[in-house]
């Protein structure tokens, strides 16, 4: 038993089924440690679904990674054929055989060469297997495809009894066996009902072609005494063998970084609580065609590279050169970051391969390049190769994976309908942390772009619509003009501004006229006051004159009276 298994059983205090790691990417996670150790596991599926490869990988990985030699009993292909077939995966079976790490035994069964008379058993096969196991000290064994016995021998009763005995015997030998079986017509998993004999673990491989694009799927049908993922998991076969992609995080227990990263557009950062996105968060930029989604993405990419971090850009629409050229037109030089290998483009047509293959390819590239930011432009194109549900499930896994790695991810999505409430954006909107909408504002005979933040988890984001302007100097956000006639954008905004300027000039003019009138009025008033004053003075003079006269008269009269009195007294 390998160390891994012991480790695994230590972690769970209850005695668990001992497991053997297959070494196949993702499968061991799916089955919480591998297939049951010391027991047979049935791998079934239609022709060409990857059974033999699965089996080979189980043996080769066992020998190379877990130091468990293995035996490959081939009932279908000769050893040389097998070697040639898997050489493309970098498995050198001949070398491994020489090193006594594996043993391939081709069991040739040809009905035309064989005559059956009377009773027999398969002891010969047992002896061969036993001998093969002993020759390399095997811990693993593959029987590929044992059902071929049924094609070569006619006595079914003997065969069935012997197979049952074979599997029992393998169990007693304590080797972990993988038995492949081809799926036949009807509901049975295998043509000869092997699942009857192998009851511990059954894995079904499937290869479906939907809309001309093939998807391989794997499902653990049965696993006695162990929890396992029950879903169908896409898997792919590439130059590194089989990769199964389980939803890596069944639990949501990710680290949340409080660190913020700039979006590369200062105004957008201001809208996002002044600091930008959270590191390791997922951002969706959605909008209708031509709203500048790619520009926003490119801006983010440039900002990332400018801070010296790596950015991986998956382009599903344009070629890298196109993007670089187009972004140059808005004063963004991405080429220099490409040259510094801070920015890496990966452009592929979505229909190049199925979704899971995309996913695996992305996984691989991300693992290799180790970027801090990943951009998908646009995810909507993936819909051409899968249903909305498939795409969503793929994106869920992708986001999970990226968040695990603390990679900030930006998706762009093309929305076809402009009604916000109906937009699904491949259902990804509920998964993402920040959702930025860019939309057309058609008004006054022109089209402008409005940007707003639909949601942004965990930050005090702006709820305002900003006008999003792309100039040959780059991207900027302008506050939309909120006038008496409502929200105005573009030239309408400019017109409104001009209008206001005119108004103010006019008002100023009106003001000066009023001032002058007031001045004149004051002058009139003042002159009137002067007139009244002089009138008053003349009246006063008049009155004074009368007074003086009266005084004079009185004085004169008094004098006269005194004179007269004097005269009367006769003085």
């Amino acid at each position: 038993m390998s160390k891994e298994i012991k480790k695994g059983s230590n972690q769970t205090h209850v005695t668990q089924l001992p497991k053997t790691r297959t070494g196949i990417d993702g499968l061991d996670e799916l089955t919480a440690g591998g297939i049951p150790a010391g027991r047979p596991t049935l791998i079934c599926g239609e022709a060409g679904c990857g059974k033999t490869l699965f089996a080979i990988e189980f043996i080769v990985r066992g020998a190379l990674i877990y130091n468990e030699p293995g035996v490959f009993m081939a009932f279908e292909e000769k050893a040389e054929e097998l070697s040639a077939n898997v050489a493309s995966l970098g498995f050198d079976l001949d070398e491994l055989q020489k090193k006594k790490l594996i043993k391939i035994d081709y069991v040739h069964i040809d009905r035309t060469e064989i005559e059956e008379t009377g009773e027999y058993d398969l002891e010969g096969l047992f002896i061969r297997i036993s001998h093969a196991i002993d020759s390399v000290g095997a811990k693993r064994i593959v029987l590929d495809t044992v059902e071929n016995l049924f094609a070569g021998l006619s006595n079914q009763a003997i065969l069935r009894a012997e197979l049952r005995r074979l599997f029992q015997w393998l169990k007693s030998k304590g080797v972990t066996a993988v038995i492949t079986g081809e799926r036949g017509d009807g509901p049975a998993l295998t043509r000869q009902g092997l699942e009857e004999y192998v009851s511990d673990c059954v894995i079904l491989l499937d290869h479906r072609v939907t809309d001309q694009i093939s998807t391989r799927r794997l499902r653990v049908i049965k696993y006695r005494g162990s929890v396992h993922g029950t879903n169908e998991y896409p898997f792919m076969i590439d130059e590194d063998g089989i990769s199964v992609l389980p939803v890596t995080a069944l639990k949501l227990n990710k680290n949340a970084s409080p660190e913020r990263v700039s979006s590369g557009i200062p105004a957008l950062d201001r809208m996002l609580g002044g600091k930008g996105f959270y590191r390791g968060s997922s951002i969706l930029v959605s909008g209708t065609a031509g709203t500048g989604k790619t520009s926003i993405a490119a801006c983010f990419a440039r900002e990332t590279c400018r801070t010296g971090e790596r950015c991986l850009y998956f382009a599903f629409e344009e070629s890298p050169n196109q993007i670089v050229r187009n972004m140059k037109s808005i004063d963004m030089d991405l080429q220099k970051f490409v040259d510094k290998s801070l920015l890496k483009f990966h452009a592929s047509r979505p229909s190049l391969y199925g979704l899971e293959q995309h996913l695996v390819a992305m996984h691989k590239m991300i693992k290799q390049f180790k970027p801090k930011v990943v951009i998908f432009d646009p995810i909507t194109n993936l819909i051409t190769v899968g249903s909305v549900r498939d795409v969503k499930s793929m994106l869920t896994r992708l986001i999970d994976f990226l968040l695990d790695e603390q990679i900030t991810v930006m998706f762009t999505a093309l929305s076809l309908n402009t009604i916000v409430s109906e937009q699904t954006d491949e259902g990804v909107s509920s998964l993402v942390d920040t959702w930025i909408m860019v939309r057309d504002i058609e008004f006054n005979g022109e089209r402008n772009r409005g940007l707003y933040i639909m949601k942004s988890r965990g930050m005090n984001h702006s709820n305002q619509v900003r006008e999003f302007v792309i100039t040959d100097k780059g991207i900027d956000l302008v506050d939309v003009y909120l006038g008496p006639q409502g929200v105005l954008t573009g030239s309408a905004r400019e017109a409104q501004k001009l209008q206001e300027l005119t108004d103010s000039v006019l008002r100023k003019n009106a003001l000066t006229m009023k001032d002058r009138e007031l001045y004149r009025k004051r002058q009139v008033l003042e002159s009137r006051i002067a007139g009244l004053r002089s009138e008053f003075e003349s009246v006063e003079d008049e009155l004074n004159k009368i007074y003086t006269e009266e005084e004079l008269v009185k004085k004169v009269t008094d004098e006269n009276r005194l004179e007269i009195l004097k005269k009367r007294r006769g003085e």
């Binding site: 060469e113 005559e115 008379t117 027999y120 002891e123 002896i127 021998l153």
Partner: protein, 98 residues
């Protein structure tokens, strides 16, 4: 080969002295004596002793009779209880009994 003029080289694979093996061997000897007298060699291989030989002749069932010579190689599995089948399988023309 002890007898150079042996037209038939037969090899019987067995695994220990099981009932089936013993039956097969006695059946085989009987047929050979009857139909191939003097022109056959029988070699019995016990795979429990020499398991490495199973691979070479592609043995998986026990008992298996292999006709090595003349070519092409023919195999008959089972306890050889059906004489006619054995003879057809080995391509032996039965000696007509009077």
């Amino acid at each position: 080969m002890e007898t150079n003029d042996a037209k038939y080289e037969l090899r019987l694979y067995v695994a220990g002295k099981t009932a089936k093996s013993v039956t097969a061997l006695s059946n085989l000897k009987r047929y050979c004596e009857e139909h191939l007298k003097g022109q056959y060699v029988i070699e019995v291989v016990d795979l429990l002793i020499k398991p490495q030989l199973a691979e070479g002749d592609q043995i998986f069932a026990i008992p298996t009779l292999v006709r090595k010579v003349p070519e092409p190689i023919r195999k008959i599995i089972g306890d050889l209880s059906d004489e006619e089948k054995v003879l057809v399988g080995l391509d032996i023309r039965p000696v007509i009994k009077n």
